[in-house]
Amino acid sequence: MTETTQPQAWRTQRSADSQLKRNWAKLRRNKAALFGGILILIYFITALLAPVIFPGSPSAPNLMRSLERPSFANPLGTDELGRTILGRIIYGSRVSLLIAIGVVFVGLLVGLPLGLISGYYGGKVDFGIQRVTDTMLAFPGFLLALALVAVLGVGLKNTIISVGISMVPIYIRLVRGCTLSVREQTYVEAARAVGTRDRIILLRHILPNVMAPVTIQTSLGMGTAILFAAGLGFLGLGVQPPTPEWGAMLGSGRAYLFNSPHVATFPGIAIFLAVLGFNLAGDGLRDVLDPRFRL
């Protein structure tokens, strides 16, 4: 018996591997997605290794060197308080990454269970959740985040919470839609036919099957979160100075746009590249994970 089981084990392993390999090959063929992935990778490395890449404080002012143009010593120039912009962008990546992850976490934490419940149980529960979702979706996302900041106040934590909540309805809708279609699958009926409890059906049978679109939305959502947080920062309603935050940097650079355009330009480029990276990667993931394109 043992002789025959060996090659079987090998074969199972191989076919699981080949699925991964196929997805990886598909992702690699997709040049845009690859570019997006590289951008995200650079972004993550920068955020994680910020103190290594840029020793010293990004917030220590040096008024003697304020508004210097890009030079060899300060590749991206300095801002109005003489802080090097490169350093602030590097440290700003930590803040924006924290916000991106936090926002998506809040969105998933609230949106995923509500979407599952709404889609699976239907009826009155669904009606209730969906009308609340409708109300939230009636506001443009950024306006909703802005209104929430007005209620909660400024700061890193509140930025995460308010932008996160503004994304909740998107997750609810997405997860509900997927749940509705998965719920009708025969394997869910079969699970009920062997007496499985609703909770286990939701967690073991439905949740894993809605994860593909949720993963894509998470990648796209991180891009949007960075943009929203930067928007709040730009308006002075996000993370407060002296914490280096891209949106706030952009906002304070606005005053010097004519004489020292580099102050606003480089944070803007940083925001642009980070959002671009998440969007391209999200599109790439969609192409790979979308069952309609699967062979």
Binding site: T4, T5, Q8, A9, T12, S15, G122, Q185, T186, Y187, V188, E189, A190, A191, R192, A193, V194, G195, T196, R197, I200, R204, H205, P208, N209
Partner: protein, 325 residues
């Protein structure tokens, strides 16, 4: 000889509230399943076969569905049980096999996980023991190298293998009753034969009664002892299988049997086409007056369109038709 009845369905009526009104999918059917027997249920698509099975396990969402009547399983009315009690019966005392082996297994769970889930649910054993029981079941349904197959995902198995896995899951808790809803329809003929053999063998082994739902009369002839013929939510004929094939009483059953192509069988004179039952099944929303089959019936009488036919007993068989009154 009076056999012991395992399942008695009495005057079961399943209706659905839909936008256009009320649809009666199953209209007052009665059936008995005895211990250890296979009951065949035949009929065209949409005649209420599957709804009957789903009603028995209460798998229909209510609303929109509405189930009335009595479903006595071992003298307990399943319709009166609460959700927890019916859950304990599902998969344990009564289980079900579905038509589509391609979609009735969850693509993200391994075969072993899915089978052991059912075992753990009802037998209160730990994960490891459930797993080894699952492997045992896979062996029983003749899946080669079951230890390894248990680790595989549904997409790595062929259709026939998946249906075997489905059967293993359904029988894993040794149910007293198996509802097989078109278990071989999606499989090709040689695999069908294997699955039929397998079900016959396991039926003996576990002493399980089977309700075999199908539109395949060949399968009925092979497996069932008694047959119910359904048409538009009603049982129109009930007979032992030999009698039914030898001398169908209801014109609908006669039509069904005549529609089977036999190699070498002479077609009716002048016809070079397959026999068929003329017309189509009417919409359940526009139920014909009187006998539901009368617009398509070859032996229609004037009374048929006016009054519902009575249930007539003839030589120990039942038929719902004016012809035998």
């Amino acid at each position: 000889m009076k056999q012991e009845s395992l399942l008695s369905v009495i005057n079961l009526r399943t209706r659905f509230h839909i936008y256009e009104g009320m649809v009666t999918a199953v209209d007052g059917i009665n059936l008995d399943v005895y211990r250890g027997e296979t009951l065949g249920v035949v009929g065209e698509s949409g005649c209420g076969k599957s709804v009957t099975a789903l009603s028995i396990l209460r798998l229909l969402a209510t609303p929109p569905a509405e189930i009335q009547g009595m479903i006595l399983f071992e003298d307990v009315n399943l319709l009166e049980l609460n959700l927890d009690e019916i859950r304990r019966i599902r998969g344990n005392a009564i289980s079900m096999i579905f038509q589509e082996p391609m979609t009735s297994l969850n693509p993200v769970l391994t075969i072993g996980e899915q089978i052991s889930e059912a075992i753990r649910l009802h037998q209160g054993v730990d994960r490891q023991e459930a797993w080894s029981k699952a492997v045992e079941m896979l062996q029983m349904v003749q899946i080669p190298s079951p230890e390894m197959r248990a680790h595989e995902y549904p997409h790595q198995l062929s259709g026939g293998m998946r249906q075997r896995a489905m059967i293993a899951m359904a029988l894993s808790c040794h149910p007293r009753l198996l509802l097989a809803d078109e278990p071989t329809t999606a499989l090709d003929v040689t695999i069908q034969a294997q699955i039929v053999d397998l079900m016959e063998r396991l039926k003996e082994e576990f002493d399980t009664s089977i309700v075999l739902i199908t539109h395949n009369l060949g399968l009925i002839a092979e497996m069932a002892k008694r047959v119910l013929v359904m048409y538009m939510g009603k049982v129109v004929e009930e007979a032992p299988v030999e009698d039914l094939f030898q001398e169908p009483l209801h014109p609908y059953t006669q039509g069904l049997l005549e529609s089977i192509p036999w190699i070498g069988k002479k077609l009716k004179t002048g016809r070079r086409q397959l026999q068929e039952i003329p017309g189509i099944v009417p919409s359940l929303l526009e139920m014909p007056e009187g006998c539901r089959f009368h617009p398509r019936c070859s032996r229609v009488m004037s009374i048929c369109s006016k009054e519902e036919p009575p249930l007539v007993q003839k030589d120990g068989r039942w038929v719902l038709c004016w012809l035998w009154k």
